[in-house]
Amino acid sequence: MEQEAVDAVSLRARKKKRGRRAKEQIDPQEDTALVESQDAKAEEGTSITAGSTERDEQEKDDIPVIRYTSVRQMRDDIISQEQTILVQRTIRSGQRIFYPGNVVVLGDVNPGGEVIAGGNIIVMGTFRGIAHAGALGNEDAIIAALQLEPSQLRIAGYITRAPEGDYASVYQPEIARVQDGIVIIEKYQPGYDIYHRADRKRGSING
């Protein structure tokens, strides 16, 4: 049973990769290496986690380890398995970054700066520019920032802008997502999001 699931997962991963390769020119060597290692693990037939000796060692302590792997898997707490880049810089006016996967900015995004991502956007700093998450059509994408004061937020096809006039800026992490056809911004509550999504998306896999 587990074997089947694993095969299905790795097959999907491969299919998706192949589809993407044409667009993105992923390094072919790296790509095949990844697929091979997946196959090898699938043949073991036990689990999709790596390094069995290492695992045994850790589980001796009776501490349950939640293992995530680079293989696509069906889990409610994984909201994205797209590739992710970490960008450490200030995105200034007139600068735009684009990435088909997730983007994490370690820095501020100033007014006039743009971050466009196929997946989610997380800004470890103040966000004052324009963000477009799920730019390739993913409506489940989120935008989160330590301080969210955007001039415009776009998620997939939905666009919102900051309210006119002065409003008290909140010094707290916030998160924006699409809910019932509108973009909502709420206080970021650690962990809360999992249940939120799990209810809504039960049955479907991979955001």
């Binding site: 200030t90 200034r92 006016s93 007139g94 600068q95 820095g107 100033n110 007014p111 006039g112």
Partner: protein, 266 residues
């Protein structure tokens, strides 16, 4: 071998030319060999602010096109022997020279001076590209206004793209009273926003207007607060550690008493 600084801002009217003239003059006062280059072709001002307008024979464009030698175009300052100005052409426009020509010119001048300051025109077009072409470092001038800070941010991004790392910031025309009442962006707001190193804070000072009109940089006036700020900035450029100026005037008598008693923390 000297260092080339470009003084830029994006927005016009924030004090690039005044800053260039004052930093240049006070660096010369400290004994350095300084050349000021006015890159604002077509709208030259630096010569007026320096009071050297009527001595111009050849200009930047003439030198770049080989119509004269560099020595012929450089104007020596009236007050300091080690201070020179290379004026911009008034009858041409920004396209009269190319970034490559500007770069070659900067290379040639910096062999024989300690500091070369390029006064950049406003905007981000050809004139900006020319001005930054030969620069090693950049000084970004801004005022505590949202529009000026926005433009400075854009300029910092463009400087990064031209491979000029770590620009320095001069915050010009601060009015301590308005900052205190919360009507003006304060220094910390601007620095937090732009995230670059602060080189100096220059208070808003009426004596600047008088001195630019007269063609005598404010650093020559020992009573000018702005002049003092520019002198401090020059010493920082030269590598000295100078504490930032206290813009508060010490307050009234009661303020001082309160501070003594620890009732006021500022």
């Amino acid at each position: 071998m000297g260092e080339v600084f470009v003084i830029t801002s994006g927005k016009g009217g924030v004090g690039k030319t005044t800053t260039t003239a004052n930093i240049g003059t006070s660096l010369a006062m400290l004994g350095y060999r300084v050349v000021l280059v006015d890159a604002d072709i077509g709208l030259r001002n630096l010569d007026v602010v320096m009071g050297l307008e009527n001595r111009i024979v050849y200009d930047l464009v003439d030198v770049a096109h080989g119509r004269c030698r560099l020595r012929q175009a450089l104007i020596r300052d009236r007050r300091f022997e080690t201070l020179y100005l290379l004026p911009a052409a008034q009858t041409k426009d920004k396209n009269a020279i190319s970034p490559e020509q500007m770069k070659a010119l900067c290379e040639e001048i910096k062999k024989e001076c300690d500091y070369l300051l390029v006064d950049c025109p406003a905007g981000i077009e050809q004139g900006f590209r020319n001005a930054v072409a030969g620069a090693d470092r950049a000084i970004v001038v801004t005022t505590p206004e949202v529009a000026a800070v926005r433009d400075a941010d854009r300029i910092i991004g463009l400087l990064e793209a031209s491979e000029i790392r770590n620009p320095l910031l001069i915050l010009n025309r601060i009015r301590p009273k308005m900052v205190r009442t919360g009507d003006m962006l304060d220094v910390d707001d601007v620095i937090e926003h732009l995230a670059i190193e602060l080189l100096g804070i220059v208070p808003d000072d009426e004596s600047i207007i008088v001195s630019t009109n007269r063609g005598e940089p404010a650093v020559l006036n020992s009573h000018s607060k702005a002049g003092e700020a520019y002198r401090n900035i020059s010493r920082r450029i030269a590598g000295e550690e100078v504490p930032f100026m206290n813009l508060e005037n010490g307050g009234g008598f009661m303020d001082r008493v309160r501070r003594l008693l620890g009732l006021r923390t500022s």
